[in-house]
């Protein structure tokens, strides 16, 4: 069965993919449908959804268009999710590969280091990092990457440990390939599928983390994000629930879609494992 056929067998994964593509489309269309800055005040504040034509989701406390904010926010959420996951992979994959391949003292040292980061409460660490580095897209991406690489390192290490004594690795060693070549060319390509699955789930977690940081007022003050919108509307929740409701729904759908896609990828990339599981 082809990769896509296996993926499509999981109905949840297909639904997830459709939601995700819609959100990506929203992010891409935002500059065309809402060319104005989402920060611009365009109408009377506190408009309810559909109250005035052209303002589908109403306006916020300052008279900014909520729909425009959600469209532009999609871009920010996806970007921060993707970039911070990439940075986390760039930290976790080499550390895990080295620990798993060499074993011994190097492994011990690297795993202590990883454990240390796993013990520290994630979100509290991210808050402290962003607060001290000052909120910006860069500091948020870095903070999310710093708190989310340990599971990558552990996964890659486990994969490397189980693969390093396989025959093809021994063969590569016999023909005189260097450790570097063996790690990059022989073992790493064989660990890609679990890494891809984990990465898709990490993008989801990163989006949740980013929204929570922005909600607490630690978002980049120059970009409109879903978490910021909810945080800013928190004090007026009694008068205008929709200001918090729609951005939250957008986060929920994005994270849900990414999780569904991740499960579908897991089914498609590791067919044997997931059949046993279900």
């Amino acid at each position: 069965m082809s990769f896509f056929a296996r993926f499509a067998q999981n109905r949840g994964a297909l639904i997830g993919l459709i939601i995700l593509l819609t959100i990506i489309l929203m992010a891409l269309l935002a500059p065309f449908l809402y060319p104005d800055s989402p920060w611009r005040m365009v109408q009377r504040p506190f408009l309810a959804p559909m109250e005035v034509d052209g303002f589908l989701l109403g306006t916020d406390t300052m008279g900014r268009d909520v729909a425009a904010g959600i469209m532009h926010g999609a871009w920010v959420s996806l970007l921060i999710g993707l970039v911070s996951t990439t940075v986390a992979l760039a930290i976790g994959v080499p550390l895990g590969a080295i620990a798993g391949y060499y074993g011994g003292l190097i492994d011990d040292g690297l795993m202590r280091f990883t454990e240390f980061f796993q013990t520290i409460p994630n979100f509290a660490l991210a808050i402290v990092l962003v607060a001290i580095m000052q909120p910006s897209v860069t500091s948020i991406v870095l903070a999310i990457a710093i708190v989310s690489w340990p599971p990558v390192a552990r996964l890659v290490r486990a994969e490397f440990m189980s693969l390093r004594h396989r025959e093809y690795v021994e063969a590569a060693r016999l023909v005189g390939q260097t450790n570097r070549t063996i790690i990059l060319r022989q073992i790493l390509p064989n660990t890609l599928s679990p890494i891809i699955v984990l990465a898709s789930l990490m993008v989801a977690t990163a989006i949740l983390l980013e929204s929570a940081l922005s909600f607490l007022g630690l978002g980049d003050p120059n970009v409109m994000s879903w978490g910021y919108m909810i945080g800013a509307a928190r004090t007026v929740i009694r008068q205008a629930w929709w200001l918090s409701f729609f951005p939250g729904l957008a986060i929920l759908l994005t994270v849900l879609a990414l999780n569904l896609v991740g499960e579908g990828l897991d089914d498609a990339l590791n067919p044997k494992l997931s059949r046993e599981r279900s």
Binding site: F116, Q118, T119, I120, P121, N122, F123, A124, L125, I127, V128, L129, A131, I132, M133, Q134, A204, L208, S211, A212, F215, L216, G217, L218, G227, I230, G231, R234, I237, R238, W241, S244, F245, G248, I251, L252, V255, L256, N259, L260, R277
Partner: protein, 325 residues
Amino acid sequence: MLYARLILMRLFKAVVVLFMIVIFNFFLIQMAPGDPAAILAGEAGATDQEFLRQLRERFGLDQPLYVQLWRYVSGIAMLDFGYSYRQQMPVLDLILARLPATLLLTGTAFVLSLALGILAGSMAAARVKKPSGSIIMALALIFYATPLFWVALMAVVLFSVYLDWLPAYGMYTVGAGLDGFALILDVAKHLVLPATTLALFFMAIYTRMTRASMLEASQQDYVKTARAKGLSPRVIQRRHILRNALLPIITLAGLQAGQMVGGAILTETVFAWPGIGRLMYEALMQRDYNLLLGIFFFSAALVIVFNIITDLVYRLADPRIKEGS
């Protein structure tokens, strides 16, 4: 004594981790843009120069870096977390005053999420091919993907604004002057929304974990034996499968402690629950970095203590685990 040695070893490890966090905190302050004295004072930008000079002297900021580090570490070893200039109180006193509320909230949420998660997970495992089982898992996935602070806000809208069933803010009714049983009831009422919203996410995790773990356990030979003996599916499910499936859940619960602290920051912020999470938000708003780092240290300590407890529980639950493994 096996346990005594084990606890000692774990405590030693905990001290090492906490020591590293202290050093980490120290370098964070150094890394921050601007004058460390201003940061410690919680003042960014224009401040009284004379005040800053005094601070620099008091914290030894005019000394070389290693002297500063030594002062900082030895201060914390003596439980001196510094002074919050914004709140005009020692950081330690501020944190200790707020700690019980956080323990009450996270403890309740923990028990609630574990109980409901295991219940829902075993129900889903027993109904693995049925629609009811799929519905439970779909709900678990949705709760897993829902932002905690958003669900908290929506709970406020629904249960306190529209239905007016439960209070939305604080830990007790201000100025009611309640005591005894009435006070307990009042706090319990205030606890319902924060604890439930905090529990939802973790409930989703435990549900998924319990189901997976039970499905795995149901493949074991002793389950086949039990079935062959003619035991009822219910007894097998409860006595043979669930009991063995619980072990990985205890491990997982220990790992979730850090997440729980993070969740508490968000729920306490939304519900104005007077715990250290809310204190962290206040410190953040006022750029009170000294307090912020103190809370960060305490939250890590809390997680470590919780990890040690789950480790011990795990060993009690499964005597096969030997020391050191």
